[in-house]
Symmetry: C2
Subunit: 384 residues, 2 copies
């Protein structure tokens, strides 16, 4: 079959290759510790699952409005207004519910990018970002970030990267793969450049020190700010596939038309369950957050003992992005060595862009016991 | 906000405009009969809902494999092999599970179309098809179809439309909006042109006379055939958002990479429930099919009595595409007249392409009582 250029060139997730090789080893009887995955190890809180069950019983199994069920859009608006200092600025009419947070980004890019238009983003970055931009014909423009600045987008560097073709700046705080936060001051400065800012806030709530601001808190006249969020990470709902966009009014209709054509609507009873997530499970999410934090502190301490470099302690998401240059410069080879010889899955820094080379991403979305054992294995492997 | 060309130009579903106006009238206290919607009025069969509930209880709430859960892919392969004369040719490795049937098509187009590559399809057609093609940079190339041939793609016309840029022929049988089947002979001929054929089989199962062949039944060496299907229509699962692709092996990896980047995976417990749909609810689907058929026969008879033209009786899906040229040439205006004055929602033919002008699509995904009342209202309206 003749495959398109994009079909040939779009890269896979390397971390998926690690995971698949790990599963192959497991089928051969090996015991593998998984520190490569970007997915909560917790089950979805019970009240959310029960709400979905109730919705199924009631027969909420039909298409919803293409922008999402109105009661959920109201709930999301209220959640954002309460969670951040937004003084009721978010209206249900600004909210678009999507079938996962991932497909929301290509929708936004599709609505604002013409061919060869540029989006500024950090390097390293979540691996899919540039591929989403290219999928709709746009071009990623990378800004290298510095380990000593916690890998976060420096507004000075962003400013220099702006061209006539720049249609948006993409930020992500807490960030994947680094687990770091963007300071409110830098966020504000980035919001002031007169370029639309798209803020991927999927790791919000998973913050252990400091505060993750929503980009919407920096709203001012003429600023075009878009927040992107979802239920996967904070509510442990990865397998449910539900996300949302909060956008200025003039972006709603173009995205709605794309949804009508490409998606129709998100899952009906999952939307119903999401209402419970936002309103009924603070206790469960706080419990998960405390457990993540305990693992985070342990992992940082142990990785440093083993000899990995962590300049700025990550305080968000569930990742530690550790400097491994002391051990190896080829992170791809190093990650597979760790898998094959120490039987621990880790994500190679190169998966997140050239700026991630020489680093390894460790996920603490695994139990303290497993993290303890996994890091002990890596320590023994490196000692040999 | 500066909106992209595609964001500005992508058309909405006109039938959605009809539906939204209808809902506005309902809020004003009017009683509206809905014959415009393309969605089963039935609830999802109980055994499917129970399987989802069970999966939620078990905690099947995490990401699955990007191609879909392997047990579901096995079940889909088996279902196709049994449902059609495929002699076990479909392997689980040929199956890709997607978050609805709608997003599956842009994935296929993305994997095979470079800029300005063409896809041949009928006019009239499902309104979203050309927009999906354009979304990934391709060009739809329309072949007009004839009322007296049941609006189906004539292979002679398809042959003439083939250019050096043609990368695929898109067929849809039973078809939306016409409810007609493509004859096995014409299907076979279209499959023999040496051009990949994408067959949207979403209305399979909803067939009341004759037989809907899968394109995969015409497989031969060097033929590149792709089937597209899902759970929405036949199993009354529109709100669940689950579909699938059955494709040649060399198309799987390019689409998988796109899914990893743009979707990650489909909903985990919905996939579990889909196994029940394929294996446990034949009785329920057969009951729905019989009810649709009764409505179909009634609707055809009544529409003819009222004066609409139906040359070839539709025998699939849940639509009657009726010639309304005796009453009006502007189907958009006519549909809104029927809504405002007769209080019945119908879909204007123009929504399905220029070849649909002068026609009205009536859906029988509504109760016999409502269909009776709706058509009586239209009869009275036209008599005045």
């Amino acid at each position: 079959m003749k495959i398109s250029r994009i079909g040939k060139e779009i890269p896979p997730f390397i971390v998926m290759d690690v995971l698949e090789r790990a599963q192959e080893l497991e089928r051969q009887g090996e015991n593998i510790i998984h520190l490569e995955v970007g997915e909560p190890d917790f089950e979805t809180p019970k009240c959310i699952r029960e709400r979905a069950t109730e919705a199924l019983r009631k027969g909420i199994t039909h298409y919803t409005h293409s922008l999402g069920a109105y009661n959920l859009r109201c709930e999301i608006a209220e959640y954002y207004n309460e969670e951040y200092e937004l003084r009721s600025k978010v209206k249900p009419e600004n909210v678009i519910v999507t079938s996962g947070t991932s497909p929301a980004l290509p929708l936004i890019f599709g609505a604002i990018l013409d061919r060869d238009d540029e989006v500024i983003l950090s390097n390293p970055h979540y691996p899919c970002y540039p591929n989403m931009i290219k999928f709709v014909g746009g071009k990623p423009r990378f800004v290298f970030v510095r380990e000593e600045e916690g890998f976060q987008l420096n507004p000075e560097d962003v400013k220099e990267a702006i061209t006539k073709k720049t249609k948006a700046i993409l930020i992500n705080s807490p960030a994947n793969p680094t687990g770091n936060l963007l300071s409110p001051e830098w966020m504000e400065e980035i919001a002031s450049f007169g370029i639309p800012v798209i803020s991927d806030e999927i790791y919000h709530g998973l913050v252990y020190k400091g505060e993750a601001k929503s980009i919407l808190e920096f709203a001012e006249k003429d600023r075009e700010l878009i927040a992107l969020n979802g239920f996967s990470k904070f509510f442990a709902m990865t397998g449910w596939r539900l996300g949302y966009i909060i956008a200025p009014q003039d972006l709603i209709r173009p995205i709605q038309k794309m949804i009508q054509n490409l998606f129709i609507s998100p899952n009906a009873f999952v939307q119903e369950a999401a209402i419970s997530a936002l309103s009924e499970c603070e206790e469960e999410t706080e419990k998960m957050r405390r457990i993540y934090d305990e693992r985070r502190r342990f992992m940082i301490k142990r990785l440093r003992e083993i000899g990995f470099g962590i300049t700025v302690e990550p305080t968000g998401a569930f990742y530690v992005f550790a400097n491994a240059k002391r051990f190896a410069n080829d992170s791809y080879k190093f990650a597979f060595d760790i898998l094959e010889k120490a039987k621990v899955g880790v994500a190679p820094g190169i998966d997140f862009g050239s700026g991630g080379e020489g680093y390894i991403r460790f996920s603490y979305a695994n139990s303290l016991d497993n993290i303890t054992e996994g890091l002990a294995r890596i320590e023994r492997f490196l000692a040999n």
